[in-house]
């Protein structure tokens, strides 16, 4: 039996050669051709997976070639290209090839932009100018030959979004020169072709989500507006054609049951077509290459199916088949669904890649394991995708670049190519370039060949790749977090105070060791550099800085640890010494005490002996006296007795001296014992002092540890805040992460108004579907005032009051208009000043609906405020302020105060009875309302655009066109307090909170910054979710209101706490353990 051609291309788009099987889009092909015939240009847009490329390659181009396209000539030159990383070179290559011109010449010519491409075509042999002499003088035969050769030129820029997704083309919201020239060439060519009716046709295909970025290229939005084709979703009957008719064309058949089942079960939204084509391709193969009728049984074998749905016979066949397939495949059939097909197919290839490599690749070293092969696949696919504004998109890469990111010495680019080949086979076509079965050379690629995932449907439907991408997203998020800390360290002269705290260091070291971010990986995410070399150079610097920062942080923490250990050792030794000393001193003191006691006993004994001796001496003295008396009586006997008494006395004195000596010794011992006791006390005091010191050190260490802990929680809060702004399927995850970020921040003493936490909470709320715009009637509002209600005046002269929740106006009055309102100012609860387009101005008592004209007034009002119950001040385009009195209802001009330049904005400062004016020449002037004298308060080069006084009248904020804000303190004098740089765009509006603690600054780059007045040096909270610039700004009830140029009224809470309460109320569940571990980490104790 002849092998039937498979009419379903699978994941890749249809090629021009496969147009014979391209069905279901006939109507759309006709519509695009019609647009090209009429306008010479069409931008084909549509969602990813809507088949834009197939529509052109297999629809428009073959139909044009076949003559179903009305054009001047019979033949077609199809010059198609993808912008990739060098659009101009790619365009030049295709033009040179088809117009048969020298490449270098074409590149040079195209580099001049504008009509260069038209000139090349007109000069080529493929164009006939029927008015030229060459044509007019040619013979009929020559003319026929010329006609046969003449060709229309079709230029196709496929995947036009690559002008935005590749940083070589578009970086920092700015196109590269190369990209800009390419677009200029193409648009200019389309313009001239249309103007001169030349047979040149230009088509771009682009994902519709990039439409808004096209404004970066001058003229492009206009062309898109001029001729765009949005690829429609297929209707049921068209899907049926796509399923059934290619099989019929190829001589096969699809059962109606299968076709209806596929249409019913196909997921809506993204990827419908690529998934369907892949399923059909698999079904064709399972159905014996189309030799069997494609039916439900075949679908069951590739997607799974509850067997009760199958016919008897098929049911048994399927159950038996299921039993004999490999174990790893069984699991894919547990939950039957069509998206299984792609996932299962990719997984089967993942499992079989190593065997395929071992059995089929003989030109690469066989030095890898199955785990190596799977690692290569993982890193290769991660390299071939990248995160672009939270979305995973395709990312072309050379084999060399992928091998460099893998960065393992035994893995060469040949190995990577060999392992990845299974995904390039004609049966799978998941990665380009595909292997052609007829050309063995296509198996082997050079290091500079580029890999590209065939379709993003693979990224969105292959579960492994989704997991790898989540990992990649985490890695990228960590790199960004890390860079913030690294930059802070660098900005502070690499001060130790800005090194990583212990918790953060452990976290980032763990990340670094796991993800091993080498320079090639880092370069992939450099969106600031245009050239590859510059990217790599910057990535290398960053890579080295990462290592330096980690090392410095580790070294510093080790030093602190060592210091603490040393201190602990010293304290331990000191404590031991003290204990020894104290023990010694106690022992000595005890010994001394005992010795002193012994001595005292001895002294007492001696004393007693001495006293005894004394008594003896006394008694002997008495005996001596008696003897003397006796001597007197008995002279000789007496002299003898006296001599004996003298001897006795001498003996007694000697004994007394001995006793005194003994007493002195005892006193000395006692003194020594006392001194030793004092020493012991001193040592004890010293030991106590050391203990207190050690305790203090311990407390300091404890505080440091707590601080490190706190810092790591605050860092975690920041990290979670960033993570919460990513795009999760379950919006509860955004809410939970934002709330947890808030919890960590508030529990660990983070700033109450932390900008990241604020943004995270705000984002999570908006992302959950909550709106921050107040529903109003559709009017062109120009003035806003918020007091007890929201008051608005429209260009059509309607004054409406709304409740804070919006809805229908609660009160409304209208002016009788002759011309539209140019500007309006609600100056109090009764009056508004209205300036009309015809430059007249009126004072409108909107409560009584009475209108008084400002006589002889002829300008556009730019500002108006009430000074007292009878006076108002008005500014316009003239360099003057006009003060009017309206006591008599009819406004009368009191005085016109003139200036050097126009007054852009002004305020009244009641406590100084002064007007402060912000002028166009940058001067800030105070006007004393007592004598109308002017006083220069400040001078700057840039225009002063906005001014506001705080409700407590203590602060004055002035905004300039340079984005700078000056804050003045107002007391008896007005003095410049500080200057902040809010933005690179000009300041349009300023508003203070009611407690004067927060100042909101709206700038012309669609941002509002919220500063805490007492902490102006701190980073502000930046709001940027409004779509248009702010016209009016107001704060009421701790809520910021902004009337934008699209007449929408947005609001934001000033307090993070209010947002956190809101987020809490939106939570329907808690973080699961798995989510906690994934986003916060197992090491952090789980909180409910």
């Amino acid at each position: 039996m002849e092998k039937k051609i498979c009419p379903y291309p699978g994941l890749r788009p249809f090629t021009e050669n496969e147009s014979i099987f391209f069905k279901g889009r006939e109507v759309h092909i006709r519509q695009i051709i019609r647009q090209l015939e009429e306008k010479k240009f069409v931008m084909i847009t549509g969602a990813s997976g809507d088949g834009k490329s197939s529509l052109v390659y297999a629809g428009v181009i073959p139909n044009a070639r076949a003559g179903f396209f009305r054009a001047k000539f019979n033949n077609w030159l199809i010059t198609d290209f993808r912008p990739e990383r060098s659009p101009l070179q790619n365009l030049a290559r295709t033009i040179s090839q088809h117009l048969e011109l020298d490449l270098a010449f074409v590149e040079e010519e195209l580099g001049y932009g504008f009509s260069a491409l038209i000139s090349l075509y007109k000069q080529s042999k493929f164009y006939i100018d029927y008015t030229s002499e060459k044509w007019l003088t040619a013979s009929k035969d020559d003319q026929k030959k010329m006609k046969q050769e003449a060709s229309n030129l079709f230029i196709l820029a496929d995947q036009f979004e690559e002008f935005f997704t590749n940083s070589e083309n578009f970086s920092n919201n700015k196109p590269s020169a190369n990209a800009y020239t390419t677009i200029n060439l193409l648009l200019e060519t389309a313009r001239i072709a249309d103007q001169d009716d030349l047979p040149i046709y230009i088509a771009f295909t682009m994902r519709s989500d990039y439409i808004s970025q096209s404004v970066a290229f001058k003229g492009l939005p206009e062309f898109i507006g001029f001729s765009q084709f949005f690829v429609p979703r297929l209707k049921r009957n068209e899907l049926q054609q796509i399923i059934e008719e290619p099989a019929i064309l190829s001589g096969g058949k699809v059962s109606k049951s299968l076709s209806e089942k596929l249409i019913n079960d196909l997921p809506n939204g993204f990827d419908q077509l690529p998934l369907l084509q892949h399923i059909m391709n698999r079904l064709w193969k399972v159905a014996d290459d189309g030799n069997q009728e494609l039916g439900l049984l075949h679908l069951a074998k590739i997607a799974g199916m509850p067997s009760k749905i199958l016919k008897t016979g098929d049911r048994e066949n399927f159950d038996a088949w299921l039993l004999q397939i490999e174990d790893f495949r069984q699991v894919y059939y547990d939950k039957p669904m069509l998206t299984n097909v792609l996932n299962t197919h990719a997984n089967i290839l993942y499992e079989k890649a190593f065997d395929y490599f071992s059995e089929n690749i003989d030109w690469a070293k066989q030095n890898i394991t199955k785990a190596d092969a799977q690692l290569i696949i993982k890193i290769a696919f991660k390299s071939l995708t990248k995160i672009d504004e939270g979305r995973a998109v395709r990312n072309r890469m050379t084999l060399r670049e992928i091998t460099q990111i893998i960065n393992l010495p035994h893995i060469t680019y040949e190995t990577v190519c060999g392992v990845m080949n299974i995904y390039r086979l004609q049966d799978s076509t998941f990665v380009r370039p595909f292997i052609n079965d007829q050309d063995i050379a296509t198996q082997y690629l050079s290091a500079d060949d580029t890999f590209d995932i065939t379709h993003e449907a693979l990224i969105r439907n292959w579960k492994y790749l989704q997991e790898w991408e989540a990992e990649e997203m985490d890695n990228l998020s960590n790199l960004k977090d890390f860079q913030i800390q690294l930059n802070r360290w660098k900005d502070n002269n690499k001060s130790d105070a800005f090194l990583l705290a212990a918790g953060a260091l452990a976290y980032f070291e763990d990340w670094y060791n796991k993800s091993k971010p080498n320079k090639y990986w880092i370069a992939k995410y450099d969106s600031n550099s245009f050239s590859k070399e510059e990217k790599l150079e910057n990535a290398e610097i960053l890579s080295n800085e990462i290592v330096d920062f980690l090392q410095a942080s580790r070294k510093y923490l080790l030093a602190i640890k060592r210091k603490q250990q040393r201190l602990r050792t010293i304290l331990l030794i000191a404590a031991l010494i003290i204990i020894v000393i104290l023990s010694g001193v106690a022992f000595l003191a005890n010994s001394a005490r005992k010795y002193a006691e012994t001595q005292a006993v001895l002294i007492e004994k001696e004393k007693k002996q001495a006293e005894k001796q004394k008594e003896i001496a006394e008694s002997q003295k008495e005996i001596a006296i008696k003897a003397t008396e006796l001597a007197e009586e008995e002279k000789k006997r007496a002299e003898l007795n006296a001599y004996e008494a003298l001897v006795a006395k001498i003996l007694s004195d000697s004994a007394k001296t001995e006793a005194q000596k003994m007493r002195a010794l005892a006193e000395l011992s006692s003194e020594y014992a006392k001194k030793e006791a004092e020493n012991a006390k001193l040592a004890r005091d010293k030991a106590e002092e050391m203990r207190v010191l050690s305790e203090n050190e311990r407390k300091i260490a404890e505080t440091e540890r707590e601080r490190a802990n706190v810092l790591s929680y605050l860092a975690m809060a920041q990290s979670l805040a960033l993570k919460s702004k990513q795009n999760y399927n379950d919006k509860q995850v955004n809410l939970l992460l934002a709330y947890q970020a808030y919890k960590f921040n508030s529990d660990y003493g983070g700033s109450e108004q932390d900008p990241e936490i604020y943004k995270a909470l705000n984002y999570a709320i908006l992302n959950s579907g909550e709106k921050n715009s107040i529903p109003l009637e559709k009017e062109n509002f120009t003035s806003l005032s918020i007091n007890g209600a929201i008051s608005l005046i429209s260009k059509e002269g309607k004054f409406q009051k709304y409740a804070f929740a919006g809805g229908k106006p609660t009160w409304s009055k209208s002016l009788q208009l002759k011309t539209p309102v140019n500007s309006a100012f609600i100056i109090d609860a009764n009056y508004a000043i209205i300036g009309y387009e015809d430059r007249t101005a009126y004072l409108w008592n909107y409560e009584s609906n009475q209108v008084e004209k400002f006589s002889d007034y002829n300008d556009y009002i730019r500002g108006a405020i009430k000074l007292s119950n009878s006076t108002i001040a008005i500014s316009d385009r003239s360099p003057a302020l006009k003060i009017w009195n309206f006591e008599q209802k009819k406004p009368k001009l009191v005085i016109e105060i003139t200036f050097e330049a126009r007054v852009n904005n002004f305020v009244f400062v009641p406590k100084q009875n002064m007007i402060v004016a912000a002028c166009n020449d940058g001067n800030i002037l105070g006007i004393d309302l007592e004598n109308y004298e002017k006083k220069l308060l400040s001078v700057k080069k840039n225009r002063a655009t906005s001014i506001a006084l705080s409700p407590d009248q203590n602060l004055l904020a002035v905004g300039y066109s340079s984005g700078v804000i000056d804050i003045f303190s107002v007391s008896d004098k007005i003095i410049l307090k500080s200057t902040i740089y809010a933005s690179s765009a000009g300041v349009s509006n300023i508003a203070f909170s009611e407690n004067s603690q927060i100042v909101a600054i709206a700038t012309d780059d669609k941002r509002i910054n919220l500063y805490k007045v007492n902490y102006l040096e701190m980073s502000p909270v930046t709001i940027s979710d409004h779509e248009q610039n702010v016209k009016e700004l107001s704060i009421k009830n701790n809520r910021l209101y902004a009337l934008c140029y699209d007449s929408s009224l947005r609001f934001w809470e000033l307090s993070v706490k209010t947002y956190s309460d809101k987020v809490k109320s939106l939570l329907t569940r808690d973080l699961t353990t798995e989510e906690w571990n994934k986003y916060i980490g197992e090491e952090i104790k789980r909180e409910q």
């Binding site: 009305r70 001047k72 019929i248």
Partner: protein, 302 residues
């Protein structure tokens, strides 16, 4: 012939008790989508079974398509139809009628939110039998949204192919590019002696809707010949597009792709597509080759 939406007449079949609110809702949407509804009529539950059977057939005949809503209970049974349920019976009446009237279409709607609910065994058998026997001109939808279902009904009913009247039966339909007109005319002249020929010269800048004409003429042609001499770039793509739009390998009309060897570069312009014979010949041999092909077709048909 393409239809106008307000001419689409829909027979909305009766349903089991629990699906009545769904049917009412769907009927309102169908009306707002511009379609005319035909029902079984009031009091059908009280009509004698035999009369009811005829009544269903009468109503189905009046309609361009029928819609059958499937629920999870089997519903009321009809005695004289082997106790088949009313829903199932209406479906079979429509199916039998469709076999003789291919233009009529049958739409079956089994809303997705019912799929996992408990179901009567008889009803499950009925649904499985419907699902496994879907034929051409039958649509089986699970879409949960009745609006999407009605959109599908409307777009399918409005998408019938354009038909051109006054197409004549012909043996050979001969197509060429205007740049090869002289040579083509010579061949057509010779072939006209032996067979009935309709010729068509393609002019690049013409506003004519060639494809619609070709598609219609193909249905009344025995052999399509695409001839080229100096226009091979056009011809190879042209034959592919014609093949694509006229049934390809399954088409009843084979294609003979003839290149003139007068232009040397045509030697290697042969193409390989099922149901297409590709030949590069001298112009003199072409009439004979065309005749051989035509004769072969005639013999095969006999």
């Amino acid at each position: 012939m393409s239809k106008n939406v307000d001419t689409i007449r829909v027979f909305l079949s009766e349903v089991s008790e629990e699906m009545k609110p769904t049917k009412d809702f769907l009927s309102k949407i169908l009306v707002r989508a511009g379609m005319e509804l035909i029902f079984l009529g009031p009091n059908y539950e009280e009509i004698d079974d035999e009369i009811l059977t005829n009544k269903i057939l009468d109503q189905v005949k009046k309609a361009d398509c029928t819609i059958h809503i499937l629920g999870h209970s089997y519903g009321k049974r009809i005695k004289n139809q082997k106790h088949t349920s009313l829903s199932e019976f209406q479906f079979y009446v429509a199916q039998n009628y469709q076999k003789e009237n291919v233009i009529s279409k049958i739409f079956i709607w089994y809303p997705e939110d019912l799929i996992d609910k408990p179901i009567d065994a008889s009803q499950e058998d009925f649904i499985n039998s419907v699902r496994n026997n879907i034929s051409a001109n039958m649509v089986y939808s699970n879409h949960e949204s009745p609006v999407v279902f009605v959109e599908d009904v409307r777009s399918i009913m409005l998408s019938d192919k354009k038909e051109i009247k006054d197409i004549k039966n012909t043996d050979i339909f001969f197509i060429y590019n205007e740049l090869d007109e002289d040579e083509a005319n010579e061949i057509v002249e010779l072939v006209s002696d032996i067979a009935d020929v309709t010729k068509l010269g393609i002019v690049q800048n013409s506003p004519d809707d060639y494809m619609t004409f070709i598609s219609n003429q193909m249905t009344k042609t025995k052999l399509l010949v695409i001839y080229f001499n100096r226009t091979s770039a056009w011809a190879t793509h042209f034959v592919q597009q014609v093949w694509n739009k006229t049934g390809g390998a399954s088409s009843q009309t084979p294609i003979l792709f003839l290149g003139d060897l007068q232009t040397e570069s045509n030697e290697n312009k042969n193409i390989t597509i099922p149901n297409v014979s590709s030949m590069m010949l001298e112009a003199d041999l072409m009439p004979l080759e065309i005749k051989v092909h035509l004769d072969t077709i005639k013999i095969e048909k006999i």
